[in-house]
């Protein structure tokens, strides 16, 4: 006949297993979940002192994860060798006296006694040793009934799986972090290489030193003002750095010629966006639109550009940005055949070419960036430093000019 006490025990066990399931799957931190799990066990079997140990497979030792009932928690890590792990029955409770007869027990494992261990449960998930539970003396009878051992085994199995899952998650997180770092390192190398390429491109033309670098900076400033995502900003940055890579196949004599170019020389120069595209499209860049921006950076709104004579809305924003950034820098740097324009002259020139060479909306954003830089409203000025040392540079004049242009554009 089943006694009332047995029914109470059975109901309490079922309810406690439900508590355990709920706790180990809760949204609490891992340490809180494991502490609560240990409390469920100690509550189920009225054990005032207990510890949950986690197995560190790299160090081959059991380390203290959480405990109940101890003031002094100076835990001595217990080394566990492979042969000992093999000797354990999975998630089976061992009395201390039984553990003492196992070769596992040595001066190192005497730390178990410091933690008042009366019962030791090696935790296994699948075939992997993941930790152990140390239970102290019970308030009720010292030994466990077979039925209690069975429940303890179920509980141990549950905790072992949680430890195992957490360990998998930790390993996965570490791997992800390692890969992230690797990716960041690669990215830096990638960017350094691209910058080196850009420097090599600009070195071909003694007049356009740092041209690619400035075009990239101007383009990034406009894209950022437009609210582009970081990944897209990175695309326009690299496009700015590499847009003239096709010039490497053009004769330096043509590039640096101080007089008017012949028709054939002009057509040679006009090949460079196509060549840039041909070179870059063979590289598997992580930036999808890069080659498109580079190919079309000499296209115009009126369709008079090259190489494809695109017009109007056939030009993407990236192309429009790169076009104005490139042309503006060309205007404001010395060329073999002319002196550079002042900032005010260049702004007039941009204004005069709105709707024909440049897109009005993107140009307006460019003017806004410049005005913000003059007002000191940007973290770091990208355009202004190029002109700050110019003779006769006056920010108030530029501000007035920008206001006039903007007003005209609005009208």
């Amino acid at each position: 006949m089943v006694e009332k006490k047995d029914i109470t025990r059975l109901l309490f066990s079922i309810s406690s297993l439900a508590d355990l399931g709920q706790e180990v799957t809760s949204a609490k931190s891992f340490n809180d979940r494991m502490k609560t799990a240990l409390y469920v066990v100690t509550g189920m079997f009225s054990v005032p002192k207990a510890a949950l140990l986690v197995y560190n497979s790299n160090q081959q030792r059991l380390e203290l994860l959480t405990h109940k009932g101890f003031k002094d928690t100076a835990w001595t890590n217990i080394h566990v060798k492979a042969k000992h792990i093999k000797s354990f029955s999975k998630n089976e409770p061992y009395s201390l006296s039984k553990i003492k007869t196992n070769s596992f027990y040595n001066p190192d494992t005497a730390a178990l006694e410091k933690f008042h261990t009366k019962t030791f449960i090696p935790l296994f998930a699948k075939d992997e040793f993941v930790g152990a539970i140390c239970l102290g003396k019970r308030l009720s009878r010292p030994s466990y009934l077979q039925s209690e051992k069975n429940v303890l085994k179920v509980v141990a199995n549950h905790i072992a799986i949680t430890l195992h899952n957490s360990s998998l998650f930790r390993r996965l997180t570490n791997k992800v972090n390692e890969n992230k770092k690797l990716y960041e390192d690669m990215r830096h190398i990638y960017h350094d290489t691209i910058q080196a390429f850009a420097a090599a491109i600009d070195a071909k033309d003694r007049y356009t030193r740092n041209h690619s670098y400035r075009v990239a900076k101007y383009a990034v400033a406009i894209a950022r003002e437009l609210g582009w995502k970081e990944k897209d900003i990175e695309t326009i940055d690299v496009a700015g750095l590499l847009h003239d890579i096709g010039k490497i196949i053009i004769d330096s004599g043509v590039i640096n010629k101080g007089t008017k170019l012949s028709l054939s020389e002009m057509s040679e120069i006009k090949r460079h966006p196509q060549v840039s595209y041909d070179i870059l499209s063979k590289i598997r860049f992580p930036w999808r639109d890069l080659v498109h921006f580079v190919r079309h950076h000499h296209e115009r709104m009126d369709g008079m550009g090259y190489p494809d004579a695109l017009q109007g809305e056939e030009l993407s924003d990236g192309v429009k940005i790169l076009a104005i950034a490139d042309a503006f820098d060309a205007m404001t740097t010395d060329r073999p055949y002319r002196r550079k324009l002042s900032l005010a002259e260049a702004l007039h020139e941009v204004k005069n070419c709105l709707g024909t060479q440049f897109d009005s909306r993107i140009s307006n954003v460019f003017f806004r960036v410049l005005q913000k830089e003059i007002n000191g409203e940007t973290k770091k000025a990208q355009i202004l430093p190029h002109f700050a040392l110019d003779k006769g540079f006056d920010p108030t004049v530029i501000t007035t000019l920008l206001e006039t242009i903007t007003a005209e554009l609005s009208a």
Partner: protein, 117 residues
């Protein structure tokens, strides 16, 4: 713990705790800490009045197990009063009530402790 609080009072050197609500997560450890604090002040008699406790689960049982252990370590006396049957059945099954004096009413426990002193 959203539904747990503790009221306490001291009568003739006996501290009486009246926990209220659900004793079902680590928040209820405050009861164990409160007991420990009184014991460390040298108070020897602790009464826990269960009348306002709605629910105790295995985590709660663990906390009461801890209290029993601390009482024993301080060579003190612990009384439980106003226990619902469901709680006393579980505590009996767990062997907790072997280590405490159980009274029907709080005043019975206080009288017992006064007479013992």
């Amino acid at each position: 713990m959203n539904n747990f609080s503790i009221l306490s009072k001291t009568i003739n050197g006996t501290v009486i705790f009246m926990p209220k609500g659900y004793v079902n997560d680590l928040g209820a450890e405050n009861l164990e800490h409160a007991c420990e604090e009184f014991l460390s002040k040298g108070l020897k008699n602790v009464v826990i009045n269960f009348s306002e406790i709605q629910y105790i689960n295995s985590i709660g049982a663990s906390i009461f197990t801890g209290i029993v252990q601390k009482i024993a370590e301080h060579d003190s006396m612990l009384c439980f009063t106003n226990m619902k049957k469901v709680h006393s059945d579980v505590f009996e099954m767990l062997g907790i009530t072997r280590h405490v004096k159980v009274f029907k009413e709080e005043k019975d426990a206080v009288n017992f402790l006064n007479e013992s002193d």
